[in-house]
Amino acid sequence: MRLSTLNLRMLQRDWRAGELRLLLIALVVAVASVTSVGFFTDRIDQALHRQANELLGGDLLIVANHPIPIEHIQAAEQSGLSHTQTISFLSMVLAGERNELADIKAVSAGYPLRGQLRIAERAFAAGNITRAIPMPGTVWLDARLLNQLGLHIGDMIALGEAQFTVAWILVQEPDRSGDFFSIAPRLLMNINDVAKTQLIQVGSRVSYRLQIAGAAQAVKNFRNSVEPQLKPGERLQGIEDARPEVRSALERAQRFLGLAALVSVLLACVAVAGSARRFTLRHLDDCAIMRCLGATQGLIVRGYVGEMLWLGLVASIVGCVIGYLAQTVLADVLGSLVAADLPTPSWRPILPGLLVGMITLLGFAVPPLLALKNVPTLRVLRREIDVAEPRSLRAYALGLVLLAGLMLWQAGDIKLGLYLIAGSLAAIAFLAGVAFGLVRLLNLFRERGGLAWRFGLANIARRAGGSVVQVVALGLGIMALLLLTLVRGDLLASWQDSLPIQAPNRFIINIQPEQVQPLQAFFARHAVTTPDLYPMVRGRLVKINNRPVTPDDYQEEHAARLVEREFNLSWMTDLPSDNRVIEGRWWGSQEQRQEGFSVEEGIATTLGLKLGDTLSYSIGGTELRGTITSLRKVDWDTFRVNFFVIATPKLLRDYPTSYITSFYLPEDQLELLNSLVQTFPNLTIIDVAAIMTQVRHIIERVSLAVEYVFLFTVLAGLLVLYAAIQATQDERMHEGALLRMLGASRRQLLRGLSAEFVSLGLLAGLVAALAASLLAYILAKQVLHLAYALNPWLWLAGMLAGVVAVMLVGALGLRPILNHPPLQTLRRI
């Protein structure tokens, strides 16, 4: 008989006997968890890569913090490229008594060069594609802004000093990502209308873009000619690095979700190992007989390994299909945060899925099977002859190494990967230690209970090793869910409670110098505590210690971005009350006339700055230089205005300045905002509470996605539990039959088994709650610097979840035990 036929025959026979079900399900769970994340992130990747030029709005972009120089536009024209311009800034939009912060984009004819605009007459309708842009005097609002302002098409709005008619509802805009990265809803206007709004003033944060499109070679030539001529404040953005903030965040999300999925794989491997071990033990006699009948060791190995490979292939395919279906949930929860429509997934994630299936199989199912080749033929006569089982860790070494390799690959960074592996091992060791301690402790109580408890606890104690594995496996999944639900809520609430009662809830930017006193008078008139107004000058860091500095000097992304963008500098005479000097000295009255900087400690660490270093900033074409005379610690949680870099008055006083402030507006005085915007139309008022609500909303959505992935972990944990129950099935059936023979009713038997399962569930829940509480405490105290109180619901929820999970799984394994006729036991003896 051909080997493949033999393998399939064996697979068929063992499947019919029910020997392979758990193995298959565990493999399917492992592959499905990885591919669900894989398919989802593939859709996001496609949205970014294949639609990159749509996200860019062209083939190439020049982004600047000042109007695009005419020579760039001329160069584009000379290259035969299409071009269009946009100007983006935040501003308040007034509609009657209502006002909202909006993300304003002014566009020129021809926009967008890539992708499409969609407009509609009704909010949230599908809309129609248009090649037009807003006519002068009109604006297009997205549905969110329309709704917030209570507007309809044809209504008027005020933007700065000008009035506009709402012409259409903007449904789709190609170069804008979803809710995730948008601080405010969108208003689209004609670029020629910007001047009449008078919104762009000194200190305004405005982004100017020149979008280019054309033949690939022409774009490339243009890029090569323009790049050396870019001035400070200008940069190029191509398709390969479109929307870096989106890519960066999504890469992190991808990595995290992938690692979360790997926890399921780890537990599935434990279930596979347990199930394979049971399979091996039940086939010892078969192999002895086969050897007796002439089978070689090699044939036995090839037979069983081949059978497993076929099973692995089937399981991996089924897992990929389930993963494909499962990713739709992730796309529903998270997809809209990034883009309106995600493309369908490609086939790429299937290969990693198959790889995970094979690693799980080869690493954890095959090692115990290899023992079958060593079954002595004499076993046919002497059943008591045992086969040496593979020593645990050595046999699974290959599987563990491959699993570690998977983690490193998923982490995308060796250092991070090694930390994760070490962290995972430490976490498992901790959980196992706690579980072992609890199992031993439980055994001390067994005398105090009735027969059922005694029997249940005795079983847990006798199978201590197996009990610990079950408790840790289920505990891991429950812990993850507790962290993502209850602990998340606790930490957010704790942070909220830590804020001062009247912490500032509004920021105002773009205040012009001549508006300072009128604004202070305005607050005084309306009986709102007049806030401090701080001067702000925008400058780019160009040298440190007289050596030019560029983003390329820093490997860390955050540091590179800090150097690339402009700083918000300020000058002050007095140290702000929520700042504390930790090195050096704040300037006295004499030193204020000198040139010095005070730098926040975090940014100093990021950029490698220290006391005594010289910083040079470029402001409006001129360079200003000063020495770091102090480092400060800032309490950012006060929601007051603070600055990374503060200069002495002498350094910055003479530069073009705008002002910024933050203040607390009581809920019953919201109409003040309308009056404020009407009096000072150029001011941008940022609602901190609204941003916090949006951030909270995003955190909730992301948490939901991660919880969904961790459901696979819980499922895998339940499989480990089931594998352990199955492994002891024969023993339990024998014990059950013996008890029935001694006079136990089914109900008494059921009570004993239930006592065991309830205890296991309670242990798993306790371990999960303990680990979650500890992690929460560490996060709160060490990372977030918050107060944290133990949450009793964490313990209750953990234990309840544990008991429900174990009872569900236990119920599946109970029936054969309860129904096993005692006579069969009598025959066996």
């Binding site: 005795a458 079983n459 006798r462 014990e735 023979m741 001694l742 089914r746 003896i829």
Partner: protein, 236 residues
């Protein structure tokens, strides 16, 4: 007449037929026969672990098979003790807990009283110092003594012993048998002993010989009449 047949791959297979006998209270009866003669099947029917194809088993006047499975289990717990060749102790329970088991399953006494009874019986079989040892910590003979203690702890009316010395060396086996018969006499329990050992069977009042599922002439050997309890002699 007790009759048991099963349907096999080649048709009907008769395991027991025309079985008809009674056992007096306090009697010790040996069931002997070659392998495959039906001893285990008969034992199973007498304990209510299996159902006959025909016939009844009356235990203390109670028709065993008029009860459901739980009813038979309760009856076993209150009336029957078992001693097996392979001891059949629950490995996760200590010696004391194993002996307490049948009493606890009866749910008639509080746990403290049950514990005391179990302790006393274990002392009676010479294991007073091994109460908290697990079966794997005991020798074969000690495990069988625990099993005997368990069997007698509930003061059963009937004791079923299936090759109780089969897994023991001769010396230990003899001590076990002595213990078994001593306790049996002390409690006036009815004993049904399945054995291959002809010498052992001679210690019983009566022998029932099974050949191919059928009882051959069941005779009370006159030599053993004197060993019957007087209550039994008077009633027979």
């Amino acid at each position: 007449m007790l009759h048991k047949q099963v349907i096999g791959p080649e048709g009907s297979l008769v395991l027991l037929h025309d079985i008809n006998f009674s056992v007096m209270p306090g009697e010790a009866v040996a069931i002997v026969g070659a392998s495959g003669s039906g001893k285990t099947t008969l034992l199973g029917l007498l304990a209510g672990l299996d159902t006959p194809s025909q016939g009844r088993v009356l235990l203390d006047g109670q028709d065993l098979f008029a009860l459901d499975e739980d009813g038979r289990a309760r009856l076993r717990g209150s009336m029957i003790g078992f001693v097996f060749q392979t001891f059949q102790l629950l490995p996760s329970l200590t010696a004391l807990e194993n002996v307490m088991l049948p009493l606890e399953l009866n749910e008639r006494q509080p746990t403290r009283a049950v514990r005391e009874t179990a302790r006393a019986v274990l002392e009676q079989v010479g294991l007073g110092e091994r109460l908290y040892h697990y079966p794997k910590q005991l020798s074969g003979g000690e495990q069988q003594r625990v099993a005997i203690a368990r069997a007698f702890a509930a003061q059963p009316k009937l004791l079923l012993a299936d090759e109780p010395t089969g897994n023991l060396d001769q010396a230990t086996g003899e001590r076990i048998i002595d213990l078994l018969f001593d306790l049996n006499r002390a409690q006036a329990t009815t004993l049904l002993l399945v054995t291959h050992d002809e010498a052992l069977s001679q210690r019983c009042n009566r022998r029932l010989r099974l050949v191919a599922g059928k009882l051959v002439a069941a005779s009370a050997d006159a030599v053993y009449q004197d060993t019957l309890p007087s209550s039994v002699k008077n009633n027979s």
